[in-house]
Symmetry: C2
Subunit: 221 residues, 2 copies
DNA sequence: GTCGAAACTTGATTTACATCAAGCGGCACA
DNA sequence: TGTGCCGCTTGATGTAAATCAAGTTTCGAC
């Protein structure tokens, strides 16, 4: 939780983030419809969030990793609007939201931080809307890999070599395509020498080239 | 702005919402990249928000009407992340955000309200992700019409008879399809007796039937 | 180590939607 | 009261991705 708090602020904030929990792969952090109590800061591990349509269709709405906050969708109606499921053994800090509201009334920097986090989620979602609404399969997958790359890099891991914690099916759900298309497109990237993919481990050989995939097809010449 | 405020709270809030502006059709309320100062409450009229990809592609991320708040995406980075454009002559209240933060530290009910608004936007976006990621064109358009219907109804207008303020192109951008597909699908709905559409005026004949379109194709029998 | 279920890859075929193309209609403006 | 443009509709054709269908690999449970 990087923010511009003084030490004493930090101490007060500690009161918030003290309830730690461990989850195993497959565990639900929360379920859609559950009463909202807390936000959750992921300390270690990997989660997915998904919304379920009444007709059984599901849409993965995000993959969350260490340092990210989830549960913000639940504030609006006091009930969670999606499921959050651990994709690997994970640790989270539970942040009781009423405490957070109370404290953020006293600490402007905490208040500001909370607002930014909420807003960042909105911006993230808009980016996914752009991706789902106006990109082709190849571009979506390239954008997805680059996004993971950046986030791993920001955490001190390699931006070019990492494990996918999720299945092809889950990637497909997130990106609005079928698992076969995910598999095929990854194979194409590999065939083009952009990446090496072996099961869930990815190696990106050329970030720039992959970046160039995210954009309109090169028919403009 | 319906909320549970006492009268004196209400008076303090009035200080916030006093800067009124008028916009004509086509005017920008704000542009992507502009410095963030304020949220905007739409009093009358109709807006669209859109994100622009560097390669020129654009994605409409929402249509906003009276009573709705826009500009929340800008909080995270102190700069607007999308354009907001009036689709008809409109009036908005500018809400300076620093004032709002200040005041919401004193008024827990305002604080709570702000958090709910931010969270509601997140939930809305997730719904659009579901729509874009896992629905067919027909379902998306049905869902779109039903959403407009509900929102008009909530404002005291007819849920079954209304004007579309946006072009087929804009609907298509929002729903991740081409304008021709929007046009064709609307024609199909009309052919099936679900709606009457004449230019931008829509009449929904059967909300239930339209509702049933939002769901998996009836192959389950 | 063996078995069985999931996850994944790859190919053949189908399909929903995009693209290309032409004509119509309503509205702003002269 | 025309006239030109933009938004819209509709048809013909093309194509990206879905679907259907094997076959292979991986991995967890026993």
């Amino acid at each position: 939780m990087p923010m511009d708090l003084t030490n004493t602020d930090m101490e007060q904030l500690d009161e918030l983030t003290c309830i730690k929990h461990a989850y195993q792969r497959g565990d639900f952090l929360y379920r859609s419809g559950a009463k909202f109590q807390s936000l959750y800061a992921i300390r270690t591990g990997f989660f997915k969030t998904q919304v379920l349509h009444e007709d059984g269709r599901e849409q993965v709405t995000g993959f969350q990793m260490a340092g990210e906050i989830i549960g913000m969708d639940a504030i609006s109606s006091d009930a969670h609007a999606c499921d959050a499921i651990a994709l690997e053994d994970s640790e989270v800090c539970e942040i009781p939201f009423s405490r957070m509201e109370e404290l953020s009334r006293k600490l402007p920097s905490l208040q500001r931080h909370l607002h930014r986090i909420l807003s960042r989620e909105i911006v993230r979602d808009q980016g996914i809307m752009l991706l789902l609404g106006s990109m082709r399969a190849e571009e979506r997958l390239a954008a997805f890999l680059l996004n993971l790359s950046q986030r791993f890099a920001a955490r001190g891991y390699s931006p070019t070599s990492f494990y996918l914690r999720m299945t092809r099916q889950e990637i497909g759900s997130y990106l609005g395509m079928k698992l076969e298309t995910v598999s095929r497109t990854l194979s194409n990237f590999q065939g083009a020498g952009l990446i090496t993919i072996r099961n869930k481990s990815v190696e990106i050989h050329n970030l720039q080239k992959l970046q160039r995939f995210v954009g309109p097809p090169p028919e403009c010449g």
